[in-house]
């Protein structure tokens, strides 16, 4: 049991209808690298597991040759996860160290992550891992233009797998799609799917290490500046989803930042698809990485060191219809150090009488 992590990461596999999610999953399920994994899928039928099957644990759960536990979700996801956890504790299923959930093509993936944080049992045993999104090379661009869900799925991804690239006529379409994805989500790792790649480890490997490492790209920062909001033809894009960077040379006040971000997420959480950044916190030598998906903020991570010669805060925002300039102004007013701590308001500093009297 020692190898069960205190918090089992739950990865999410999402992607638009027909974007090759199931094909990818089928290949991954046979991959020995997925041995210590529990996979939750919509239906057994669709992935055709029979030839991998080793043992049927119960109606909803089977054990595969690769050592992977595969189960279908009937009803509530939280219930299925609790059942899985309970079976692991009782030794009825192999001690898996991660969970992969396949979400349906049209669903907004966020509620799944939210379930993990809000369920009274699950939140002590599971944590949100990576979001892997499949995008179809042939139809992906059109779907991004047309469907909000498709944009959201791409925007919250940690890793994007471009499928059916071999069916794509010419490389121009693929290049356009890749640059569009780079605009939407500048720092997601993009894979092109082939008959035998990317492997399970590349997609569902250690996400915390990956998340910290990924924050620093070759150019020194965790993310190159995102491109403007135009299509490849140069016309302004119709979708309202955009990404931008807030940079600050003044150290950030952690308390002020916390107040600001919670306030922002409370009011605009569903429109802030992603927040990701490296902060220069006042009083701290090392950078602190923050990472959030909509209302959910991952625990902040202390990083080892600043990239050479650069010590300043940078936060990438991927937002749906919020004004970047207003957001930057708001950030500056609320979160920069030297502002938050120095000027308590007389009226606010007064103790609250009704709270302190007996």
């Amino acid at each position: 049991m020692a190898d069960i992590p205190a918090f089992t990461p739950v990865h999410l596999l999402t992607g638009f209808l027909g974007s090759g999610k199931t094909t990818l999953l089928k290949r991954l399920l046979a991959d020995p690298a997925l041995a210590d994994t529990a996979v939750m899928i919509n239906e057994f039928g669709e992935v055709g597991l029979d030839h991998h099957l080793v043992e049927r644990i119960d109606d909803t759960m089977v054990l595969l040759q690769s050592g992977c536990v595969c189960c279908t979700v009937r009803g509530e996801l939280a219930e299925a996860l609790r059942d899985l956890h309970s079976k692991r504790e009782r030794g009825l299923v192999p001690p898996f160290t991660r969970v992969v959930i396949e979400s349906t093509g049209l669903a907004d993936p966020f509620p799944v992550l939210s379930t993990l944080k809000s369920d009274p049992v699950l939140r002590h045993h599971f944590r949100a891992g990576s979001v892997v999104t499949t995008v179809d090379a042939v139809n992906g661009l059109a779907q991004l233009e047309t469907y909000v869900e498709s944009n959201r799925q791409a925007a919250i991804a940690d890793r994007i797998v471009v499928t059916k690239a071999d069916l794509c006529a010419g490389s121009a379409g693929l290049a356009r799609l890749l640059s569009r994805l780079a605009e939407l989500n500048p720092d997601a790792v993009r894979h092109i799917a082939t008959a035998d790649g990317p492997g399970a480890e590349a997609l569902f490997g250690d996400d915390a290490a990956h998340r910290a490492a990924k924050l620093q790209s070759a150019s020194g920062f965790y993310c190159d500046a995102p491109a403007g909001l135009v299509t490849a033809d140069g016309t302004p894009h119709q979708a309202a989803i955009s990404s931008f960077v807030i940079a600050a040379d003044t150290p950030v006040d952690w308390t002020g930042f916390g107040v600001w971000l919670t306030m922002l997420l409370n009011r605009h959480g569903e429109r802030v698809l992603r927040v990701k950044g490296m902060l220069d916190i006042e009083g701290e030598d090392r950078p602190v990485a923050v990472h959030g998906v909509q209302h959910l903020v991952h625990p902040p991570v202390h990083m080892d060191a600043w990239p050479a010669g650069e010590r300043s805060s940078r936060i990438v925002f991927i937002v749906d219809g919020l004004d970047p300039n207003l957001l930057k102004r708001s950030f500056n007013a609320f979160a920069l150090a030297g502002k938050a701590a120095d000027s308590p308001q007389p009226e606010a500093a007064e103790p609250v009488r009704n709270a302190q009297s007996p």
Binding site: S114, K117, V259, P300, H302
Partner: protein, 110 residues
């Protein structure tokens, strides 16, 4: 924070330094923890003043949010603060409201 209603099920909020590997653990010490709570109350009150409300620490374990007319509510952490503040104020607390930003800017300049 429960992201659906913002209230049910208090847990460790991400802004709290929890002693978990890899988590922001600047204030592992008890005194530092108290100091951070005091700083948080000050920082929140800078914003809440714009809505005629204030926050105070309650026994180092919760916070009390109160309006000038005495309506008050206990909250667990920052995740619960803003839904409660909006309820008591009867209007949204929007950090992107230009008037609020202008107010925050003038407070910090002054």
């Amino acid at each position: 924070m429960c992201s659906l209603c913002g209230v049910i099920g208090g847990d460790q909020h991400w802004t709290d330094a929890a002693a978990r590997p890899g988590v922001f653990t600047r204030n592992v010490e008890r005194l530092d923890r108290r100091r951070e709570r005091a700083r948080r109350v000050v920082a929140v009150n800078r914003v809440l003043a714009a809505f005629g409300m204030s926050l105070s620490d309650w026994q180092g374990s919760s916070f009390v949010l109160a309006t000038r007319t005495g309506k008050s509510e206990m909250i667990e952490d920052l995740g619960h603060l803003w839904p409660a503040a909006e309820r008591l104020a009867g209007r949204p607390c929007d950090p992107l409201d230009p008037a609020l930003i202008a107010r925050m800017e003038s407070v910090s300049d002054g």
